[in-house]
């Protein structure tokens, strides 16, 4: 069945802001954790894989959405990665969020993923950097 429901800019911005503003809940700044393996089936599921490292968002994490696109403010690099492995997925948390309180997740690879690493091999003690992250609320 065709999906003819479309969102206007006001709705797209409201939705995108609602998503990214959740990162500023609890005790900001929010964080992004990187782990090995495939992402869990559901965001509410416990994390799997090895925790490789954590990036901290700014406070607030994102700027206001424009035309349905919210862009992250500066994301601090992890300068001492926790473990070595191939980054497989990431999860978002508020600063005080526990593991099963993840806000969002996505897969990580070198291309075609929700988060693309130029080199997705993580080495313990090294730097994990995220230089750009946007959330886009589509028209439909």
């Amino acid at each position: 069945m065709a999906n003819l429901f479309k969102l206007g800019t006001v709705c797209r911005d409201a939705a995108a802001n609602g998503i990214v503003d959740a990162l500023d809940g609890g005790t900001p700044p929010g964080r992004m954790e990187h782990r090995t393996g495939a992402q869990p089936t559901n965001v509410a599921d416990a994390s799997s894989g090895t925790l490789l490292g954590t990036n901290l968002f700014s406070n607030p994490a994102f700027g206001a959405s424009s035309t349905g696109v919210a862009t992250a403010s500066a994301i601090s690099s992890d300068t001492n990665a926790d473990a070595s492995g191939t980054a497989g997925y990431f999860r978002w948390y508020t600063g005080a969020g526990g593991d099963t309180a993840a806000l969002a997740q996505g897969n990580t690879a070198t291309s075609g993923a929700d988060l693309n690493f130029d080199n997705n091999v993580i080495v313990a003690g090294g730097v994990i950097a995220v230089s750009a992250f946007t959330v886009t609320m589509p028209i439909s």
Binding site: S77, A83, T86, L115, F117, V121, G126, A129, V130, T134
Partner: protein
């Protein structure tokens, strides 16, 4: 429209002493891990035989990153063609493979991913450190280590 979500990884630097330690760790590893780690150790040794590239730098694909509160512009130095040719046989390839097949670097990542972080962390760290260097060299560039970008 491409939605930019970009990340980058920068490993600690490596010296001859660390490489020697990695060889020792590899010698006691299970068969396939041992074979592949020793090949990567040889790759590093061969790479070190010539001076660093002096070609003009180009922006690292990750762009500007924030490290310890400072914005760092990351650059990479491409390898000269003769150097690429010289080390070619030692560097695992990371190019995409048609169909749902792993490239060599991805396959090594799966192999090393089987090393326990809980019970064999030194070996796992060594293996992935070598693989990280292999991925960098597969992109025909000087590896950009974490100490080069950390203020």
């Amino acid at each position: 429209m491409v939605t930019p979500r970009i990340g980058g990884s920068f490993a600690p630097s490596i010296d001859e002493a660390k490489l020697a330690t990695y060889r020792t760790l590899a010698e006691s590893a299970p068969d396939m891990v041992r074979v592949e780690m020793l090949k990567l150790c040889d790759m590093v040794a061969v790479f070190w035989e010539t001076p660093r590239s002096t070609l003009p730098g180009t922006p690292h694909p990750v762009g500007q990153v924030q490290v310890n509160g400072r914005v760092i512009s990351t650059w990479v130095t491409p390898l000269a063609q003769e150097e690429i040719d010289r080390i070619w046989d030692h560097v695992p390839w990371s190019s995409a493979v048609p169909g749902e097949h792993l490239n060599e670097c991805e396959a090594l990542g799966q192999l090393f991913g089987g090393i326990s972080n809980e019970t064999n962390k030194p070996l796992r760290d060594a293996a992935f450190h070598l693989l990280w260097i292999g991925v960098e060299l597969s992109k025909d560039r000087e590896p950009l280590f974490s100490d080069q970008i950390t203020p």
